[in-house]
């Protein structure tokens, strides 16, 4: 089967004392954007290192398009952006991408054209192309890293924190770029701490902790505009408490969804700002003495914090 298959991957450091990956099994179908989130030291970068053939797992297996990650044929269809942007700083931006075009063994005849295309695609301004990399800002380095990764339109793209240090415009540009790449059928593995970013881009998200896949969530298409909000109200006396059924009915009227309710508090999933306003208005009209309305933690934030409500156990 094409795509990425990871079976029972174990990777230890310090003669087995540190278990960075502890039996990770994942299937990443082709054409998906797959997010990996987790706290520092969870094993995300180690997983990426194994996928790229940089690290030798103690046991388990990885297949990329049915090939071992160290197979040069697998590397030929892979693009990678490392978290630490350690580039050859004595080159300028254009030279660096040209260098990687040659290392990727792509056709020399189209080199200049494809290098310019990649640099433009990531939004690196033309006057920066001939500037030494040593003078690049973090955001510019991120763009340069993406440019070299996109060379040859790789079938698999491994991105380790690709937007950290980027300005909001840059982040938006990368998001659009990744959507575009996804439409072309590439499979993207994204390691990121920016949960909002992961939530907006990814089809599937796995939460890794202590070297294990704790949970996996499928992100629904178009879910990016949805958000959870918590509404609190003044506690009413016995017998006059707001019933869950009533809250559900109100939510349905304005296209929202009741996630959970407790005495004096409920959490809803609303479509957008307008949906949130309608919900509030309906609650007030129904006699609910609302005292506070706030954005609740988003799904991935909850996942990150260890709440596994409604999540598929892996």
């Amino acid at each position: 089967m094409a795509g990425i298959q990871i079976k029972n991957l174990v990777k230890t450091y310090a003669q087995g004392k540190v278990r960075a990956l502890d039996g990770v099994s994942l299937t990443i179908p082709p054409g998906q954007v797959f997010g990996v989130i987790g706290p520092n030291g969870a094993g995300k970068t180690t997983l990426m290192g194994c996928l790229l053939g940089f690290l030798n797992p103690d046991s388990g297996s990885i297949e990329i398009d049915g090939l071992d990650p160290s197979d040069l044929r697998a590397r030929a269809v892979t693009g990678y952006v490392p978290e630490r942007l350690a580039f050859d700083r004595w080159m300028n931006g254009r030279e660096f991408v040209t260098y990687h075009h040659a290392l990727a063994k792509l056709p020399a005849g189209r080199r200049n054209e494809e290098v310019a295309q990649a640099l433009s695609r990531v939004g690196l301004e033309e006057d920066a192309w001939t500037r030494p990399i040593a003078k690049y800002s973090r955001g510019m380095l991120q763009r340069l890293g993406l440019a070299q990764a996109l060379l040859g339109s790789p079938r698999y793209l491994f991105l380790d924190e690709p937007t950290s240090g980027m300005d909001p415009l840059g982040v938006m540009a990368v998001r659009e770029l990744l959507s575009e790449i996804k439409k072309q059928g590439s499979t993207i593995l994204l390691n990121s701490h920016q949960l909002d970013q992961v939530d907006r881009i990814c089809d599937n998200v796995v939460f890794v902790k202590n070297g294990r896949v704790e949970s996996m969530e499928t992100v629904q298409a178009g879910a990016e505009s949805q958000r959870a909000m918590t509404i609190s109200w003044r506690k009413l006396g016995k017998g006059s408490a707001v019933a869950g059924a009533k809250l559900k009915e109100i939510a349905e009227k304005c296209g929202a969804e009741l996630l959970e309710s407790a005495e004096g508090k409920a959490e809803f999933l609303v479509k957008d700002d307008e949906g949130a306003q309608k919900l509030l208005a309906l609650l007030v009209r129904a006699g609910v003495p609302v005292i506070e309305a706030s954005s609740a933690e988003k799904r991935l934030e909850r996942l990150f914090l260890g709440e596994k409500r409604g999540k598929e156990k892996v």
């Binding site: 180690t46 290192g49 940089f54 030798n56 490392p82 350690a86 050859d88 700083r89 990727a104 063994k105």
Partner: protein
């Protein structure tokens, strides 16, 4: 061999190295003028000045991860680095020899044509032999630690040689005596004619170079590339 990697290694040469090379050139010419001879052995110095950290600097600067995400074999990387240092040092040694011979001509001490031909060949052998040792040491330590490692080996060898002088350990003595032969293959031939080099010497030379390169490829293949485990 990967020409892109060889070319990148050429271009990376820092101005400090070029300054050091200029010093070697200048001091070398004082020796030439005084001793009326030009030796190909200077090539070993050029190897160490040009090539120190040829792999170690890639490790310490963290560029290997991006490099090996490309379809490049680690053996290809090692051979390219060896070739780059060997070629650069050989070219410089030839330049050094050419300028040195011009000085000798100017001093009315022209070298024999056969001697010049031999020196050109020996320069190649010394540069590529020493480069093989350097490339292996460079896989062991980050940055330009290979240079320190070479001096340490030479120093330790010298100290041990003094220490075992009174002992009857022939194997240890042979090994210590040959440290320079291992670190600078072909160096001992610089005052010899090509005809004076025996078949056994040639086999020894190519064996040493092969051993260094095989060890270097082995080390690179074992190396795990990431910052996650550091």
């Amino acid at each position: 061999m990967n020409l892109t990697l060889v070319w990148a290694a050429f271009r990376r040469t820092h101005w400090i190295r070029l300054a050091l090379l200029t010093i070697i050139f200048i001091t070398g010419y004082f020796t030439i003028a005084a001793e009326k001879t030009v030796l190909a052995g200077e090539g070993a110095w050029f190897v160490w000045v040009l090539g120190a950290g040829i792999i170690g600097k890639d490790v310490s600067e963290g560029v290997l991860s991006l490099l090996f995400s490309r379809p490049i074999k680690r053996a290809e990387y090692v051979f390219s680095k060896w070739m780059a240092v060997g070629l650069m040092a050989s070219a410089l040694t030839w330049l050094y020899l050419a300028v040195g011979w011009s000085i000798l001509w100017h001093l009315n001490e022209p070298p024999a044509w056969t001697q010049m031909g031999t020196s050109l060949v020996l320069a190649l052998l010394i540069c590529f032999g020493t480069s093989a040792a350097l490339v292996f040491l460079s896989t062991l330590v980050p940055g330009i630690g290979d240079l320190a490692l070479m001096f340490l080996i030479l120093l330790a060898g010298q100290l041990l040689e003094w220490w075992v002088a009174g002992q009857s350990w022939p194997l240890v003595k042979w090994f210590l005596h040959n440290i320079v032969v291992f670190l600078f293959p072909g160096m001992g031939w610089q005052s010899m004619g090509l005809g004076d080099i025996s078949l056994l010497d040639w086999i020894g030379y190519f064996s040493i170079v092969t051993i260094w390169l095989t060890l270097a490829v082995g080390m690179m293949n074992r190396k795990e590339i990431t910052y996650a485990n550091s």
